[in-house]
């Protein structure tokens, strides 16, 4: 279980998270929705210890992680796998080496078994025969899938997806959504998805949390969110410019 309690985080004068509290239950897929720049990705990075909160507490399996030493934190990080927005594949390595990267470093497995395991993980995301290609030779959708294969290769307890469908065509987005749902069923991981793609949020989530002005303003099932009377939630899921959420648009 991951628990955020009254978490604050600023970047210079920009106070992004202003008392964010959220519980993520084991085995569920929780999606965090919210506008650009509201701190969704920051929330994910705080959970995995890539960022430290200015105030508040973050618990991973009842262990508070924001004050841990580097070694203790890296042990906690082994429970996580992170699918980055742009994939964050290592350009200098092949697809196979990317997927095997964590396995070699953490020495979780015999070296001889790694190539077969990598092929199997790539097959789980629907990719075959791409081990020798470099990330630059892949399409956007393939890069996302390799990033997911690299994440699940670590056999994580928690899988964090940062905007998994951003920049993909609608069909590839749906393929990724199916993949997230399928992996959750097959591997039983707890997943946290950050997105502003409502179609994806409704499809993959057990629960949806809405982040607005640095706080979670509502957490509920996709059905309840769809029927919510909250004007903030309604404006976001309908994608309307009119409503309580005002986007700052600078003319130039």
């Amino acid at each position: 279980m991951i628990r955020l309690v009254n978490v604050h985080r600023s970047f210079g004068p920009n106070h992004v998270l202003r008392g964010c509290s959220l519980d993520i239950r084991d085995g569920e897929t929780l999606t965090i929705i919210g506008g650009s720049g509201t701190g969704k990705s920051v929330t994910l990075k705080l959970m995995v210890g890539l960022l430290k909160p200015n105030r508040g507490e973050i618990f991973v399996d009842d262990q508070e992680i924001s004050h841990l030493s580097e070694d203790a934190l890296s042990q906690v990080q082994e429970k996580f796998a992170y699918v980055f927005q742009g994939g964050a594949l290592f350009d200098s390595l092949t697809v196979g080496q990317n997927v095997a990267f964590g396995l070699y470093n953490l020495k979780k497995m015999d070296r001889d078994k790694i190539p077969d395991y990598v092929r199997e993980r790539l097959a789980l995301v629907g990719l075959t025969g791409v081990e020798q290609l470099k990330p630059a030779e892949l399409s956007g959708g393939m890069r996302k899938r390799v990033a997911i294969a690299r994440a699940i290769a670590m056999a994580p307890k928690y899988l964090l997806y940062d905007e998994p469908t951003t920049g993909l065509d609608p069909i590839m987005s749906d393929v990724i959504n199916d993949l997230i749902v399928g992996l959750q069923k097959k591997l039983g991981v707890t997943a946290v998805v950050v997105t502003h793609d409502m179609k994806s949020a409704f499809k993959v989530s057990n629960r949806i949390a809405m982040l607005y002005e640095g706080k979670i303003v509502g957490v509920d099932t996709p059905e309840a969110i769809r029927n919510s009377k909250d004007p903030l939630v309604q404006q976001f899921i309908s994608g309307s410019a009119e409503g309580p959420i005002k986007m700052k648009v600078r003319a130039f």
Binding site: K45, Q77, Y82, A88, D91, G102, N105, M154
Partner: protein
């Protein structure tokens, strides 16, 4: 004394505002570089050998042609200018070997090699690590159980510490050979005279140059890694990080050169 007398004047307030920000930034950067240095040194023993070897090829072997070319022509022009100037003053081109040998081994060999490497290797390190930072690859390393300092900074530092002094030695030899060609074929100095003057150089001159090149290597590797790791803001950020890595490395090399020379001379080395 009443309270109003303790208040800074308007001019002092303006001065503090103007100096305060940059000073805080500078001390923060220096602190971070110190932390990076300590962590890099702490990981040196556990460096991954194939990665170090790959970096040595990139820093050393790939930089060899440009280093050879630079030092060859530096030695040649040094011999030419010394010979022509001394001929004007003393009516004959004397001490050309001594001037070329001393200048190259103590100063131009280490400094020019460091400047060339700062431009070639420092820029490459800052651009590569900067791109990795802005595309979240550095964060990805953390989530895959790998410390980026151990994986990226340590092999680059070791490669620079090994290759830059070797390149400096090669630069010294090539420069002296370039000087020899000009001295013998252009200035008409007997080969034996030039060689005798070079042979008069002692281990102290060589050590002086090599000691400095080790420090320059550390400066280039650490500044470039630091600039890469702290890069922000997409392609523009990578460009700025690269430029500042090269500029800061070059300036630091030249500034440290004076102080290191003074220190080494005071110890009687060179």
């Amino acid at each position: 004394m009443n309270r109003t007398e303790l208040r800074p004047s308007a001019f002092e307030q303006r001065l503090l505002k103007w100096l305060g920000g940059p000073l805080i930034n500078l001390s923060e950067s220096l602190g971070r570089i110190a932390i990076l240095t300590r962590q890099t040194i702490a990981w040196v023993k556990s460096a991954d050998r194939p990665t170090v070897f790959a970096q040595m090829v990139s820093v050393g072997a790939d930089s060899l042609p440009v280093t050879v070319l630079t030092s060859l022509f530096t030695g040649m022009v040094l011999a030419l200018q010394t010979g022509v100037s001394f001929r004007r003053v003393f009516n004959e081109p004397i001490y050309v070997g001594t001037v070329v040998g001393l200048s190259l081994t103590k100063e131009l060999g280490p400094v020019l090699t460091a400047v060339v490497i700062a431009g070639r290797v420092g820029a490459a390190i800052a651009a590569e690590l900067g791109t990795m930072k802005v595309t979240e690859q550095i964060d990805a390393l953390y989530t895959l159980g790998t410390n980026p300092i151990k994986y990226l900074a340590v092999p680059r530092l070791i490669a620079c510490l090994i290759c830059i002094p070797i390149l400096t030695l090669i630069a010294d030899f090539v420069g002296i050979a370039g000087g020899l060609m000009v001295a013998v074929y252009r200035l008409g100095i007997p080969q034996a005279t030039y060689v005798n003057e070079i042979q008069a150089l002692t281990w102290k001159e060589g050590t002086h140059g090599l000691a400095k090149s080790v420090v320059f290597a550390a400066i280039i590797a650490l500044i470039s890694c630091y600039k890469g790791f702290t890069c922000e803001g997409g392609a523009e950020g990578v460009g700025k990080a690269t430029t500042s890595a090269v500029v800061i490395s070059m300036v630091l090399v030249l500034v440290c050169d004076y102080f290191l020379s003074a220190l080494l001379v005071s110890f009687g080395i060179g």
